[in-house]
Symmetry: C2
Subunit: 429 residues, 2 copies
C-alpha cells in the first residue's frame, strides 16, 4: 500500500493536536525526523500479526476483510458551527491519518517523538513499536449528517441523503439508550491487537478536536463472525458458534448482491459503498446460563457443540426447516428459533454480512456482568435487509427472552478513497 | 499439569450452575461424555498461544508468570449468612474449576455440552475450542474477609489476619469510587486470549452463585508490564514504555526479597504468598495529549521513544539522579518525576512486581475516553513497599496532574494449592 505523499494534516487538524493554551504553536509541528512504526521492532501485543490492509481502493477495508479479532468502534457528532468546508477538511485529515495508521505508521511523519520538544507530539505513541496488526479504519455517515430531526440541512447534503439510509424504526422490545445510539459519523477500527485499534480511535478523535467529538464508543474483545472461508467460526457469549452462515468474501455474487451499493440504487455517490447497522445487544447471560441445554439449542436452532442445525448434519449443513423433530410434535428447527427467523429463505432471500464482537463492560450493582454482543452488519439496502429481518426477529425470536437491544445506529459507508484521495470525496467532491 | 482427580464441584457449586426454578435438578449433572477443550481444534482467538501454566504449586501462578496480554479482574463479596464451611467449599470449588480452566478444560468433565439436555450446562461454552491461552487464575482475600469495619469476625479469621494486610490509607488526591474498590475476594484472570479470561471470570462467578457475587470487575486490553526478561516492554496510554525497571522473575533474590511472604513475616499461612494491590487509575489523556513532548518526558523522567532515563543511556540503563541537565539548572531527571519518586533508591530499596493493564471503558459525556491504567502490584509487605512508595508519589509526583485514582483494593494472595488441594488450605485447613 501507498501512503499519500502530497497530503498531510490540515492546519485545523494540527491545531487539534496542539490544543489550546500551549505556547509552542503549530510551527513546532512537522519538524524533526520521521517515526516509522513499521520499521521498528515489535515491542508488545500478542498477535505479532503483520497483516496490513490497503486504505485506498474501490471499497473501504473493514467490510469483507477477514474479521479481525478486536474492535474499537466510535460514533462522533460534528460540533455546532462547523462548516461544510471544515467537515471536508476533517474527512481529509482522517483519511490521511488512517492511511498511515493502517500501514503501521504514526498519524504524521513526525509522529510520536519526531516533533519539537516544545510541542505536543502529533501521535500519542502507545502503538509505537507495534505493527499494523491488520488494522482497518472504516468511516461512515449517519442520517443526522444529512438531515437533522428538525429538518435543518446543516451541510447542504439533504438532497444527497440515500433513500437506503433510513432512520431505523422502533423494533419491538427496543430499550435504546441515547448515549449508545446515533451519531453523525462513525469510525470502525478493527485490528488483531486491541492496542492498535484503541490507538487509532484515540488519535482520530484527537485530530477531530473542536470539529467532532465522541458521542459513544465501544470496545469488543472477540469477534463473533467469520467473513472469509478460511476463518474458524468463533463463539458468542451464549457459548454458541456465531456467523456460520454469514456472507463470506469469497461469495462474490452474494457480496455484490447483498453488500455493495451501486450507482443505480438511488445515490450515485454510494457506488461501491455499503450501509452499516450497529446494535448494542445486552445479553442477560445469568438467565441464559440457567436455561437447560435443550432450551438453549431450541432457541438458537443449532446444537451447541458442533453448531449443526437441529435438522441434522454438521456445522455447514444447510438447515432444513421441513425435517420433523425425532421426538415428534413439530419441526426439528422451531419456526421461532433464531436460525429460522433470520434465515434468508424466510426473509425473501435477504442476507447480512455480520461483523459483530463480544463485549463485557464491567458489571451492574447486582453483580451481573454487563455482557453481550456488539452487532455490526453491512448491507446494500437496510430497507430490504436489516429492517425486515430485525422486524421478524424482534417480534417472534425465542432469543428475545435473553437479549435486550440498548444501542442502535446506522451509517452510510461510502466507497473507498481513490489513491491519495479521501473518504467522502464522492459525496462532497 | 494434573487436574484433581478425586475432586469435583460441591453440591452447592452444582446448584449454583443449575440455579433456581429449573426442573431438571442436580441429578442431570455429571451425566454424559466429557468435553475436553484442549483436544479440540483451535477455533478462534488471535494468539493461537498454546502456553499453559500449572494451577497447583508452591506459589500461585499469575504473579511471576510472564505477563499475559489480556486481563479480566474480578472482586467478589461473600453473601450474607454464608458460613465458614460454605466459604471453604466455595474456595474448593473455585480451585477445582480453575485447575481445569488453566489446563484448557471446561469447568467440569461434562462441561459445555456433555451433560443432560434437561439441565443447564456446567460450562457456559464460549471458550469451547480455544486452548488454555496461558490462562492463570489467581485468588486473593480482602481485609473484610478477616475483619469487617464494625469489627465482626465473620468467619473466625480475625486472629489470622496478616499484619501486612493493612487497610490502605487515604492517599493525597484519591478520588475513590466504592463501586471500584474493596471486596472480600478477588480473582485475577490473565490470558493471551481475552475470551479465555472472560470465560474464567464468568464461570467462577457462576459457580459462586448464592455464595459470593461480583462487586466490581475490570477488563484490561494490553499489558503494561513485563515480568520476565524475555518480554518486550509494552507501552501505557501515555505512550511511554512501562515496567522497564520492573522486578523480573529471573531476579530470584529480588523476587524472594520483595514478592514472596515467608512464615516469619507474621502470618505462617501466607508462606509463599504475596499481597496484591489493585488501583484503577484514570488518565486524563486529553490533557496529557496537549502537553509538550518536553513536559511529558520531564514528568516521566525518561525519553518517550527509547524509554531511556533522561540521565542518558538506553532503556535498561540505570537512572543516575546526580547527572545535571545539559541545559543546566538542575538534574537531568527531575526529583519530582515519576521515575525518581518511584525508584527503589528513593524508597529504602522497596520494589514492586507490577502487572498492570491498559483499559478503555467507553467515553464520558464530554467525549473524553474513559481510559487509564489498571495498576496491579504484588509485594511482600505493603507497609514497607506499596504504601510508602504511593505516599511519595501521591504527594509529589508531577504525573498527578494527569492521573486520578478512582479504584483501590488490597488482597492477601495465599500460596499455591498443594496437588489436588485448594487455595486457602493453609488458612482454613
Amino acid at each position: 500500500m501507498t501512503v499519500t505523499d502530497g497530503g498531510g494534516l490540515s492546519r485545523r487538524g494540527l491545531l487539534g493536536l496542539v490544543g489550546t493554551g500551549v505556547g509552542a504553536g503549530v510551527l513546532g509541528l512537522g519538524v524533526g525526523i520521521g517515526t516509522d512504526r513499521a520499521v521498528q521492532a515489535h515491542a508488545g501485543g500478542s498477535s505479532g500479526a503483520s497483516a496490513s490492509y490497503p486504505f485506498f481502493g474501490g471499497h473501504q477495508s473493514g467490510i469483507v476483510t477477514a474479521a479481525q479479532d478486536r474492535l474499537h468502534f466510535a460514533s462522533f457528532d460534528v460540533a455546532d458551527g462547523v462548516t461544510r468546508t471544515e467537515l471536508v477538511e476533517l474527512l481529509k485529515d482522517w483519511s490521511y491519518a488512517a492511511s498511515r495508521l493502517t500501514a503501521g505508521l504514526d498519524v504524521s511523519p513526525t509522529g510520536a517523538t519526531g516533533g519539537s520538544l516544545l510541542a505536543p507530539p502529533d501521535d500519542t505513541g502507545e502503538a509505537t513499536g507495534l505493527p499494523a496488526a491488520g488494522l482497518t479504519v472504516t468511516i461512515g455517515f449517519g442520517p443526522t449528517l444529512f438531515t437533522t430531526a428538525d429538518g435543518t440541512d446543516r451541510f447542504g447534503l439533504a438532497s444527497k441523503r440515500p433513500p437506503a439510509l433510513v432512520d431505523l424504526p422502533h423494533f419491538s422490545g427496543d430499550q435504546l439508550v441515547a448515549a449508545a445510539s446515533g451519531g453523525d459519523l462513525c469510525v470502525q477500527a478493527c485490528s488483531d491487537d486491541p492496542q492498535v485499534a484503541v490507538h487509532a480511535i484515540r488519535n482520530l478523535s484527537r485530530i477531530a478536536f473542536g470539529r467532532a467529538s465522541l458521542r459513544w464508543s465501544q470496545l469488543g474483545f472477540g469477534r463473533t463472525s467469520s467473513t472469509t472461508r478460511g476463518q474458524t467460526t468463533p463463539r458468542n457469549l451464549f457459548g454458541f458458534k456465531d456467523g456460520t452462515a454469514n456472507v463470506k468474501a469469497e461469495d462474490v455474487a452474494a457480496v455484490d448482491d447483498g453488500v455493495w451499493a451501486t450507482a443505480s440504487d438511488g445515490a450515485a455517490w454510494m457506488d461501491g459503498g455499503s450501509y452499516l447497522v450497529a446494535r448494542k445487544i445486552r445479553m442477560t447471560i445469568e438467565t441464559w446460563d440457567h436455561a437447560s441445554l435443550s432450551e438453549q439449542q431450541t432457541v438458537v436452532g443449532r446444537d451447541k457443540g458442533e453448531g449443526a442445525p437441529l435438522s441434522g448434519g454438521t456445522e455447514f449443513t444447510a438447515p432444513d426447516f421441513a425435517v420433523a423433530a425425532s421426538t415428534g410434535g413439530g419441526p426439528a428447527i422451531a419456526p421461532d428459533s433464531h436460525v429460522a427467523l433470520a434465515h434468508p429463505r424466510n426473509n425473501d432471500g435477504a442476507t447480512l454480512l455480520r461483523r459483530g464482537y463480544n463485549f463485557v463492560d464491567g458489571n451492574d450493582e447486582l453483580g451481573r456482568l454487563n455482557a453481550g454482543l456488539f452487532f455490526i452488519a453491512f448491507n446494500r439496502d437496510p430497507r430490504r435487509q436489516y429492517v425486515p429481518i430485525q422486524q421478524a426477529l424482534s417480534g417472534n425470536d425465542r432469543m428475545n427472552e435473553y437479549v435486550k437491544h440498548v444501542g442502535s445506529a446506522i451509517y452510510a459507508v461510502p466507497p473507498g478513497a481513490s489513491r491519495d484521495g479521501w473518504v467522502g470525496e464522492t459525496l462532497f467532491g
